[in-house]
Amino acid sequence: MPFARRMLVEERRWLSAEEFTEILSLCQLLPGPNVVNVAVCVGTRYRGAWGAFAAFAGLMTAPFFIILALGALHTQYGHLPAVSASFRGISAAAAGLVVAMGFKMATSRRLRSGMALFAVITFIGIALMRLPLVVFLLGAAPLSVAAAVWRRK
């Protein structure tokens, strides 16, 4: 995302800093990876549907083939003791990145203090009770939004 910001705002000047923040906050609210959504929004703004498609394809094509190549290497050599040993370390660190992202988001100002209960409920329902996500969200998300509406009154 920092790279996307530098390219869009500083190098190409397709967006002002304010426009970028505005688009990013919308994209964080919508489903899908934020950086993909930003690409789609910017593409839409400049060239409509084809712009969105071009931005998406431009963002994803190279990483798609790179990751498949890495996947192929992993399949080919993953069973070697040295590789699988390294991967035990890499996977553990990758898990740490996810944990950090969760904590970062949990302590950000975007999480209003009175709403933390819904984060706890979500964690229990999904991580501990292993409820199917769709079923859980249909129940929890409307309740959470309703609580937020009520708190704002």
């Binding site: 703004r45 998406f56 990483p63 790179i66 996977s91 898990a95 949990a106 999480l111 998300a141």
Partner: protein, 175 residues
Amino acid sequence: MSEETLAQLAMDFSALSLIAVGGAITVLPEMHRSVVEVHGWMSGAQFADLFALAQAAPGPNILVVSLIGWKVAGLAGAVVATAAVCGPSCVLTFAVSRIWQRFRGARWRAAVEDGLVPVTVGLMLAGGYLITRSADHSWPAFAITAVTAAVVLATRIHPLWLLGAAGLLGLAGWV
């Protein structure tokens, strides 16, 4: 692999697409449930490996679904899974980005945001919990997870350095 598998990939991942607020991490628990627990396409450890690859590679983390699709049904699987997980959310973003400007400053817009953030936080923490349980099978592994999380929170170091260092520790036989 059969067309049935491709159809299953398309269905499962397009359902995930519209609930992936915040990206791949939010739907990590559900991906794990579907891929490991429901379909048994791979073990938890394999899932954790693929996710680690996606974290280390350039591009959005959501590309882990390309890897999953590829593992399950080859190149066709990769294309189908990627299109399924990106298609619906991209169409929604495209549609909303054309009308959103009109609601700038609307009060319900802020309330929707306030309401969705705690659910996203819960999902991200759940994702961290589940992927840790899949990836870590020894105390040193748990220590690496904890230290990585702490370093990311405390510093601005690029995550690739941490993945690399952890890989070296693994190579040295410590994990």
